[in-house]
């Protein structure tokens, strides 16, 4: 049985932890707002890019399509770009992404394909290192980046395109967590090379007007597709940033609640023991007096 002093210490330490988790929750809430705003600000660009891309892809005949869009014609080597957070303490956020990536890797290896992994963010690297360290070809550290800018995404995209140009892989898939709400983030796998142009969107683009292209469509497309990859990665990073903060907020909220419950339980035990001790002392005094 723990002594009264032990219990007192225990309560004090849980209270201190609760203060920390509470503070982390509030910080996450503030950051979440900013991350959400950033994700929203980036949306118009991504949407228009998608529309333009669908439009122009329709204009370029299949044979002229640049390799980034048409692919290499094989799918032997897969590159997995796994985007996770840099920090933990955000519930199952990182492990969900890592799990999805791991399932993909296992499936691809089972089919006899070569798998290469590019880790963005420390946590994903840590999670995948254990089982698939020899598949990880590179990692990008965003630890010192306070606010994710387009440059960060652009750099990753350049790395990916550089590898593609060297013929290092045939298919590239991006793993990230889609931000749906504060409570739910959905780990998602999205193929970025060869670029999958959503067929449904094509009909949705504004008009059937015949476009003039300057320079010709193929040249624009060749320029546009690398840019689109940057945009997709940028979007993934922003979604991740918002998702991480959402997950962290939820995780820290429940941690705070758990700490509260623990304090209540410990306080009851503490009070009970204190009362028991008082009663014991009283009995001793009374029985001492009766014995006289």
């Amino acid at each position: 049985m723990a002594s009264l002093k032990d219990l007192r210490n225990r309560i004090a330490s849980v209270k201190a932890t609760q203060k920390i988790t509470k503070a982390m929750q509030m910080v996450a809430a503030a950051k979440l707002k900013r991350a959400q705003e950033a994700a929203e600000a980036a949306r118009p660009y991504a949407e228009r890019m998608g529309a333009v891309l669908a439009n122009i892809a329709g204009a370029v005949a299949g044979n002229d399509a640049p390799p980034l869009m048409a692919g290499t014609g094989k799918d032997d080597t897969h590159l997995l770009v796994v985007c996770t957070a840099e920090r933990g303490l955000c519930g199952g956020f990182n492990s969900q992404i890592a799990k999805l990536a791991r399932e993909h890797i296992r499936a691809l290896l089972g089919q006899g394909k070569t798998v290469k992994v590019l880790c963005v963010g420390k946590k994903g690297y840590d999670a995948l290192r254990r089982d698939y360290s020899k598949h990880i070809i590179d990692r990008v550290d965003l630890r010192d980046v306070k606010k994710i800018g387009f440059e960060n995404a652009h750099e990753i995209a350049r790395k990916v395109i550089g590898l593609f140009d060297k013929g290092e892989f045939d298919v590239c898939t991006l793993f990230y967590s889609e931000f749906q709400s504060v409570m739910s983030q959905v780990p998602t796998a999205q193929q970025i090379i060869p670029a999958a142009v959503p067929a449904g969107e094509e009909a949705a683009t504004s008009s059937d007007a015949v476009y003039e292209y300057e320079p010709e469509a193929a040249a624009i497309l060749a320029d546009l597709i690398p840019r689109n990859i940057s945009v997709q990665i940028f979007r993934a990073l922003l979604e991740n940033a918002a998702g991480e903060m959402g997950a962290k907020m939820t995780a820290m909220d429940s941690a705070t609640r758990n700490a509260g419950e623990m304090i209540d339980k410990l306080s009851i035990t503490y009070n009970r023991q204190r009362q028991a001790q008082i009663t014991k002392e009283l009995i001793e005094i009374i029985s001492g007096a009766e014995a006289l």
């Binding site: 980036a42 660009y45 800018g149 387009f150 300057e214």
Partner: protein, 135 residues
């Protein structure tokens, strides 16, 4: 008084400009072009340069863009800029840094094709520097 049309300038990070305008000058890769209302549908790449916007109510704004893409329709025009800043906010260090990076790209280029492209980009940047930041 020419007709007004809608002009949007978006960068990946935010929407910079979205208003009714009278005309816009876009630095296309094939040369500058002025877009007015009811322009034929056109798509063009943009080189680093200055986008001049003449607002419908008079007055003009200038934005520096670093490459991108323009989608022009009769009813409106959208510029998707890789990176864009208002001309008043551009500073010498930022531009110098970009030029430095472009130089490194030229040095790092592994084949002729990428080198030519990097050199072209560098040349466009230096022209831009000369145009907006007189020494």
């Amino acid at each position: 008084m020419a007709d007004a049309f809608k002009f949007d300038l978006v960068s990946p990070e935010r929407l910079l400009f979205s208003q009714e305008v009278e005309s816009v000058v876009i630095p296309g890769t094939e040369g500058e072009m002025t877009v007015m209302a009811a322009h034929a549908p056109t798509m063009t790449n943009i080189k680093p340069g200055v986008v001049t916007v003449n607002a419908a109510g008079g007055g003009s704004e200038r934005y520096v863009v670093f490459g991108g893409f323009a989608d022009i329709l009769p009813e409106g025009c959208t510029v998707l800029a890789e990176s864009a800043v208002h001309v008043d906010e551009i500073n010498r260090e930022d531009l110098a840094r970009r030029i430095q990076e472009a130089r490194e790209d030229v040095a790092d280029a592994e084949d002729d094709h990428t080198r030519t492209r990097a050199e072209e980009f560098l040349a466009q940047l230096t022209t831009l520097e000369g145009a907006i930041l007189p020494a």
